[in-house]
């Protein structure tokens, strides 16, 4: 189970390189992480490796065709919830019905404008992808962004808002040193201007409440989280 995964991953399988490239480009521009496959077998391979949130399948491909791929994937529990769209030049009714009945979530016929495709993809994600639980876990420390609770070895620790945001920021990338400026921008925003000591004070409060040695000062640079 992945912990944080804000960027949606999409796998595209098509045997025409041009189409792959166009779709990939447009989806990446929209902020998605995209991988491609050139045929059915490669698609299954990539699906297992890449674990995408959405798979866009051409139907006519060398090796396994799209419907076979869809059926195979749907049999595996790991891909039970993965979104699957057919994107194909085959527009006959029978194939479309068969495609949808094989467990796909949509069926789009080529040619389709990139903009429309992107809109459809957005619409699918808007509806179906469960939001991230937002639980960060580092060792015995759990940071639940949804419940606004920090828990260490079973004990809940109550932090005030800024304290929580500060910790969540640092713990979001363990080991990374956050410059004071970065912290200010992320936690306080760019509009508010506060003195330099403010950060220190909040860091201290977090350290105190956690009673762990997990926030390290990097003198002259900033702070980092490390359990």
């Amino acid at each position: 189970m992945s912990v944080t995964n804000t960027v949606k991953k999409i796998l595209i399988a098509d045997d025409e390189p041009d189409i792959l490239e166009i779709i990939q480009y447009n989806l990446q521009s929209e902020g998605y992480e995209v991988t491609t496959a050139k045929n059915g077998n490669e698609a299954i391979d990539m699906a297992k490796r890449f674990n995408p949130d959405l798979i866009i399948l051409d139907i006519m491909m060398p090796g396994r065709n799209g419907i076979e791929v869809c059926n195979l994937l749907r049999m595996q529990p790991a891909f039970k919830d993965t979104l699957i769209i057919f994107l194909t030049a085959l527009s006959d009714e029978g194939t479309e019905v068969k495609g949808l009945e094989s467990g796909a979530d949509d069926y789009i016929t080529k040619p389709v404008s990139p903009k429309v495709l992107v809109s459809k993809v957005n619409a699918l994600f808007r509806r179906f992808i469960k939001e991230d639980t937002g639980i960060l876990q580092i060792g015995d420390l759990k940071i639940d962004r949804e419940k606004y609770i920090v828990n260490y070895r079973g004990t809940d620790i109550i932090l005030a808002r800024k304290e929580f945001e500060l910790l969540a920021l640092l713990a979001g990338k363990p080991g990374k040193v956050f410059l004071r400026n970065e912290i200010l921008n992320q936690v306080w925003g760019t509009e508010v201007i506060v003195g330099d000591r403010t950060i220190d004070v909040h860091i201290r409060k977090v350290r105190q409440k956690l009673n762990l040695d997990c926030i390290t000062t990097v003198k002259g640079v900033g702070y980092k989280f490390d359990l």
Copy 2:
């Protein structure tokens, strides 16, 4: 988890009687409960009365057009989760993108074969299991979303509509902190603007009536339910 697994209800809005009839017939054959509307205003009316799981909207209709209807419905919390499909002869890219961005879940261009339409509808429902309209139970607290009744250890507690919706929202995800904004959007909708104290007062009333220590304030963030 799901309490009631009722027959899915579908509302179709189109100004062409023939189309209405064909679609209605095919969907009913598939076991859906279908109602129809002849124009935009009627669609909104029926939606409120009939509370469908899916709405199929023509775009070009007398009175309000489909996109307007979609926008209006999406503003109301009650229709936040209702599936909406556009079914239209307008196949230009701009309209399609606009339609999808107005919050629709799919966009199908006429003409479309009834079989394909049914397949698409099935695919949508396969994915989307409508939220429980039934009974939420948390410990000894029962919340009946259909009857608008809350029961604690055998005793019924009468809550007013807003109070009830507030409680149902919070109790729907115990532990999760709901931001004031989320609460406003979910309970009051995006079109109504109310002051900040309004939430507090309702929270207080719920707390008072339940006489349980189950709604926690997270200062600077929001409220959460925890029994």
